[in-house]
């Protein structure tokens, strides 16, 4: 069965097997990079205000320690030529501002923490 050896030889150069659990059973298999790099879900924290889109901090309208009410404009995130007003999602205190005016931020970057 020399031909059969050829098949298994080809497999040897490939990455080793890992395992994946589906329906209570553990399967030996290969994982893909896309699978490994998948984003894990975190429970969103309403107190942490993150960038909804990559862009530039055009203006910051609040200071740390000030009290704001729901809907108060906190800062302006300019992206794709649009000035997005980022509003306070609830009434509370601005605890920490993590960005400066003119700063370029990626998506989901932590902008402001509130309490």
């Amino acid at each position: 069965m020399s031909n059969k050896e050829n098949i298994s030889k080809k497999d040897q150069s490939a990455p080793p097997m890992e395992s994946l659990e589906i329906g209570g059973a553990l399967y030996a298999t290969r994982l893909t990079n896309k699978f490994r790099n998948r984003e894990f879900w975190d429970k969103p924290d309403v107190k942490k205000i993150e960038a909804i889109i990559p862009g530039t901090i055009q203006r910051i309208m609040v200071k740390e320690g000030v009290e704001v009410s729901t809907g108060t404009a906190l800062l302006i995130l300019e992206a794709m030529k649009m000035r997005n007003e980022i509003l306070a999602p609830f009434s509370g205190v601005v605890r920490k501002i993590h960005v400066k005016k003119g700063e370029m931020v990626p998506k989901s970057y932590l902008l402001i923490e509130m309490d």
Binding site: N3, I7, G23, A25, Y27, R38, F40, W41, P54, M104
Partner: protein, 514 residues
């Protein structure tokens, strides 16, 4: 008879046009490791078969000094030729002429050859190598793209449409390839994206190279936009010729028969699949064990590799294979693999290519990312595509066929014509482990030794349901076969379904979940 002088003039004019963008521009093209547009066409077509159309077309742009510029062929070469002795329509954008930019006449040459290919029912091959819209021509250039996209859509499912990306293909230009059936890319040469690295950097601050953003590997492994990857242009042309050898020339045609051969002996079908359903194997070897000469021409090899799709022949006839791949992610259905299979099934159905489905899957991939990425909608594509397909549909259940995965993989319930199962097949609502945990939850929880009780209950369930006979007793499986009988069974199924005729309810078109 034309005077000698006039013949000389024609020769001179031809020569001029054939120089494309001139010596310097050609040197640049060569330095980038690329062939010229004309070389590409000549290499792809049978020797001496290419007939050029519209060689002397000139642009009509007046603004921005364009009136003083001559652009040979307006940056694109179009015509007809033959591949494997059969006629095709082809166009190749010439990057040496104004960067292959698409102007009004450039687009009109392309739409003319597209109309020709649709009218004459022959495949269309488009070679893309262009800097994008010719900005000097303004909205006329956008009109050109729109006219191309419209024709791609009209021709979809009527004639095979092939896109070859041999240079940049950016902005709106990417949508012609995206609308065609198969996209070919070459390492280090192909670049496809909507917005390029410079724009992304300026607007978003993300620093990424062209290759990392939209190179051949990205589209072959991550996005799934490309179907065939190669290391060189020559290899790419060979792939195109191979692909065409499996296809019919239109939706009213059937693929040409290939030479009949037996599978190679080294693919011993009885020894490929391990009995232990948790052990992986390469399902492509099962395909090779049933095809003529063990030939398998795989489509989208590196993307969503948990699902294998591609062409092979069985006694000379082209067959489209769809198979779960236990070697990768245990062969689960997920967003990408559903997308991949769904489109391929519709392709085969449109072009009268019988489908052979090999089933061995544990179910759907669990995870928040999958649910939030819309695995419901994407998974539905597989159900839709199989249900809708009216070509002969044959299923072989190799091992596991659980739950929704069982239904989706061309089950009897979606109007499969033949369903075979191997003796190791487990057709059940879920795997024994999951089922035992649910059905015997109380017994397991209250047992003195829960693990022992669980193992016992798993075994009980296995013996009762993890086999092909429960489904066979209902006629959901037509016959349980030994692995070595598979090729014979497929042959038989194909033989008797040659005149298959089923109808669909009258409708303009369905609304697939895309």
């Amino acid at each position: 008879m034309s005077s000698n002088k006039k013949v000389q003039e024609l020769k001179k004019r031809r020569e001029e046009v054939q120089q494309g963008g001139g010596e310097q521009a050609i040197q640049k093209q060569v330095a980038m490791g690329k062939l010229t547009a004309r070389e590409r066409i000549i290499k792809l077509c049978d020797e001496g078969s290419f007939n050029e159309y519209d060689m002397f077309v000139e642009h009509e742009a007046r603004d921005f000094g364009m009136d003083r510029k001559t652009l040979h062929g307006d940056g694109v070469i179009t015509g007809t030729g033959t591949v494997g002795g059969r006629p095709i329509c082809i166009y190749a954008q010439d990057f040496t002429v104004a960067g292959g930019s698409l102007g009004f006449m450039h687009a009109r040459k392309i739409t003319k050859i597209m109309d020709h290919s649709l009218k004459m029912r022959m495949p269309l091959i488009g070679i893309n190598d262009s800097g994008g819209a010719r900005i000097q021509e303004g909205v006329n250039s956008l009109a050109g793209y729109g006219e191309i996209f419209f024709r791609n859509t009209l021709a979809s499912g009527v004639i095979p449409q092939i896109s070859v990306i041999l240079g940049p293909c950016a902005g709106g230009a990417v949508y012609s390839p995206a609308l065609t059936d198969f996209v070919f890319v070459v390492d280090n040469i192909s670049k496809m994206f909507i917005t390029g690295p410079e724009v992304i950097k300026t607007v978003l601050g993300e620093d990424i190279s062209m290759e990392e953003l939209g190179g051949a590997r990205v589209h072959s492994e991550i996005t799934g936009n490309a179907h065939f990857f190669s290391e060189s242009e020559d290899e790419c042309f060979d792939q195109i010729k191979s692909l065409l050898s499996y296809l019919p020339w239109s939706n009213t045609d059937v693929p040409a028969r290939k030479e009949v051969m037996e599978p190679l002996e080294k693919y011993n079908i009885s020894e490929i699949v391990p009995s232990d359903k948790r052990q992986p194997y390469d399902v492509r070897n099962v395909i090779r064990a049933v095809t003529d000469g063990s030939d398998f021409f795989e489509v989208q090899e590196s993307w969503a590799a948990n699902m294998v799709i591609g062409f092979g022949t069985i006694r000379g006839r082209t067959v489209g294979f769809v198979a779960n791949q236990p070697l990768v992610l245990a062969g689960v259905l997920d967003v990408d693999s559903s997308d991949k299979a769904g489109r391929f099934i519709r392709y085969c159905d449109a072009f009268n290519i019988p489908l052979v489905t090999l089933v061995d899957l544990p179910g759907y991939l669990p995870g928040v990312d999958q649910e939030h990425a819309g695995v419901i909608r994407h998974g539905a594509k597989v159900l839709y595509a199989y249900s809708e397909a009216t070509v002969p549909k044959i299923t072989v259940i190799l091992r596991k066929a659980y739950g929704g995965g069982y239904i989706a993989m061309n089950s009897r319930h979606l109007r499969a014509d033949f369903v075979f199962a191997w003796p190791d097949a487990e057709v059940a609502v879920m795997g024994p482990e999951g089922a035992a945990n649910i059905i015997f939850r109380k017994e397991i929880a209250s047992a003195e030794d829960p693990d022992k009780m669980r193992a016992q209950k798993v075994q009980e369930y296995k013996e009762k349901f993890a086999n092909p006979y429960v489904a066979a007793a209902k006629g959901y499986i037509d016959s349980v076969i030994e692995p070595w009988e598979t090729r014979k069974s497929l042959l038989h199924a194909l033989d008797v379904s040659g005149e298959k005729s089923v109808g669909m309810p009258m409708k303009k078109h369905g609304i697939p979940p895309f």
